[in-house]
């Protein structure tokens, strides 16, 4: 609008609407502390603690899996039996570059139903042929076997034990 032309006077309604807009914005600005609650709580809880302590606070399963993963050499390959979705997915991250897998058949596991139907107990020959070093069973609290001749019998024994529990 040109600055030289006379401009219409501001009506009461317009002033009221403008005031309402500004008032609402002021309220939103002054609610800034609502969003600060989350980071300030984080800082208060984590301040002064060591990294792994902080990890255990913010994501306990991640902290536990990282501790387990670090017991294995970086180049190791692990086969996970009876995976649960959360444990499997987090294991892939926390174990890397250690390779973990739950399948001999390149199967897709995505839904709870697919995980519940898991039935891929590895054979001894398959583990040795594919260069796996360890087998971990999530069903009985994370028991670990080193892959060596005769492991097939041990795995099936563990299976029987679990079946009877």
């Amino acid at each position: 609008m040109s600055q030289t032309k006379p401009q219409p006077a501001i009506g009461k309604a317009q002033r009221l609407l403008a005031s309402l807009v500004l008032l609402a914005l002021l309220v939103q600005v002054l609610l800034f502390f609502v969003g600060l609650d989350d980071p300030i709580h984080r800082i208060k809880v984590l301040w002064g603690k060591k990294l792994e302590e902080r990890r255990a606070i913010v994501w306990q399963p991640g902290s536990a899996l990282k501790a387990i993963a670090e017991r294995f050499p970086p180049a190791s390959r692990l086969y996970l039996m009876y995976p649960q979705p959360l444990v499997h997915w987090n294991s892939v991250y926390y174990f890397y570059p250690r390779l973990v897998t739950v399948t001999m058949t390149n199967a897709t596991y995505r839904t709870d139903g697919e995980y519940a139907a898991w039935n891929e107990r590895p054979t001894e020959s398959w583990l040795i042929t594919n260069g796996f070093n360890y087998v971990m069973n999530f069903k009985n609290g994370g028991q670990v076997w080193e892959v060596r001749p005769g492991i097939g019998a041990e795995l099936s024994q563990a299976e029987d034990t679990n079946a009877s529990q």
Partner: protein
């Protein structure tokens, strides 16, 4: 607080800035069009986009991320561009300083707004420096990709082809994982705390770019107020710590949108090329980048045909060029992505024919609840009263319904429709518990054009409110553009 890695982390960021500075200097002829710190802020998203594609190509051919190689690419590019364009560091720093008028000192209210911005960003930064990677998508979608790219390469890893990894969406773009891997490469080991230094930088840079963009069109008080609202928005502050790509997309999309809007207002082709390059980066950041790309393209088209009827041919050519640049920069990834089978149960195989049209009423209910609920399902606050304010502003303000401001609304609407179609075509239940968390992340990206709209409405209201009633002349609410800011006048913009 562990700060021993901070120098190396800052070095990683400096390399990103150097790569971005090379692009900025190559594209922008009139450096003085941008404020000093605005230029530096633009270098960050430009650097992300500039390094992402070369990193991907190197990894595709089996070359591991390497500090010397990546730093060399950034530095050599910057030196070549600076020599060709004759831009010295001093010129880059001082461009436009002579023409600029000395700024008025802050008022008490402006100091308050500034303090809110600094305090919000500072709190988030501190929290990010303390908390290692922990959120679900951060670990299982983005973190795993970053780890693969750190220890391996795209060529040598079987990550992209194993159905077992379907849960982590191997077909999702890699720009952000590459940046995490880059910081870890500089640090010399996998450090899922150190790499998160980039998270607060994203939000800080976005805040800076938004403030300077707003300053072109509104008063300083309004620009500070809207920036303060954005910087302290609960949902955004929360997700700024997470290891996900949404805030990164918001930054790339936002920077691209700000440049596109500058082109609409000033017809500066430089701005459009910057926008295109940044959009190429957005396409390589998230799948959602394709939706925002379509939204910007449509907004550009509408601007050409609605606002520029007499001069539409060259402008249309520029919009086409915008699309070409963006797609070319993301093309290596887009081609590679076509070869990755999508095994995921929720989005695989979705198409237009899969849209559940009968679920639209339920989706509308979910969208409404997402906008007005104070807390989300994990009891974190969301938007305060932002959405009712936005709705009210759009109702009472007329000027934002005119070009080019209406183009911002078009961007928002197309983005929202695109995201809605994705939800309707997915296998997710259309319920608030199922969609809310994902919807929050989509929503703050969608908010980007609305920040400009909100600022315009606030500025119009502020202009009216400052004037004495009736006796003196004043613009009608939404009825007139305010005179250019002193800075814009000084620059001859």
């Amino acid at each position: 607080m562990p700060l021993n890695n901070l120098p190396l982390e800052l070095f990683a960021i400096a390399v990103i800035l150097a790569a971005g500075a090379a692009v900025f200097c190559a594209v922008v002829r009139d450096l003085g069009h941008y404020a000093r710190w605005e230029r530096i802020a633009y270098c960050y998203p430009l650097g992300l986009a500039a390094l992402g594609t070369p990193m991907f190509l190197l990894s595709y051919f089996g070359v591991h991320l390497d500090v010397v190689v990546i730093t060399g690419i950034a530095i050599v590019s910057l030196v070549v561009v600076a020599a060709t364009r004759r831009v010295s560091p001093r010129k880059f720093w001082q461009a436009g300083a002579v023409a600029r008028q000395p700024a008025q000192p802050f008022t008490e209210f402006e100091w308050l707004l500034f303090a809110i911005i600094v305090f919000s960003l500072g709190a988030r930064t501190m929290a990010s420096l303390l908390a290692p990677l922990n959120d679900w998508d951060g670990v299982c979608v983005w973190g795993i990709k970053a780890k693969v790219l750190f220890y391996d390469t795209v060529k040598t890893s079987d990550y992209f082809y194993k159905p077992e990894y379907a849960f982590s969406h191997p077909n999702y773009p890699l720009l952000w994982p590459f940046m995490y891997a880059w910081v870890c490469t500089v640090l010399g080991n996998w450090d899922d705390l150190g790499m998160l230094i980039l998270n607060p930088v994203n939000l800080i840079v976005f805040s800076a770019l938004m403030y300077w963009t707003l300053r072109r069109y509104v008063t300083r008080t309004v620009a500070l107020a809207v920036t303060a609202i954005m910087a302290s928005l609960p949902a955004l502050v929360h997700y700024a710590e997470c290891g996900q790509a949404d805030v990164t997309l918001m930054l790339m999309f936002g920077a691209s949108l700000f440049c596109l809007f500058d082109w609409m207002n000033h017809r500066r082709r430089d701005s459009l090329w910057l926008s295109a390059f940044l959009m190429g980066g957005a396409l390589f950041t998230k799948q959602e980048g394709q939706i925002v790309f379509a939204a910007l393209l449509c907004a550009g088209g509408v601007y050409v045909f609605v606002a520029q009827r007499s001069n539409w041919k060259p402008l249309l050519g520029q919009v086409v060029m915008f699309a070409v640049i963006a797609v070319i920069w993301a093309l290596p990834w887009l081609l590679f992505q076509r070869g990755i089978k999508d095994w995921s149960w929720d989005f695989s195989g979705v198409s237009l024919s899969a849209i559940r049209w009968n679920q639209i009423p339920k989706l509308v209910q979910v969208l409404f609840a997402n906008a007005v609920n104070w807390n989300n399902q994990v009891h974190l606050p969301k938007w305060n009263i932002l959405w009712p304010i936005l709705a009210f502003c759009l109702l009472v303000n007329r000027s934002v319904w005119r070009c080019p401001w209406v183009c911002l609304l078009i961007v928002f609407v197309i983005h929202a429709i695109g995201i809605s179609c994705v939800f309707l075509a997915s296998r997710w239940d259309i319920t608030l518990p199922a969609l809310e968390i994902a919807m929050e992340r989509f929503t703050f990206v969608m908010l980007t054009p609305l920040w400009l709209i909100l600022a315009k409405c606030a500025d119009d209201a502020w202009t009216i409110w400052k004037k004495p009633p009736a006796s003196e002349a004043a613009p009608v609410i939404g009825g007139a553009n305010r005179p250019s800011s002193p800075r814009a006048v000084a620059r001859g913009a």
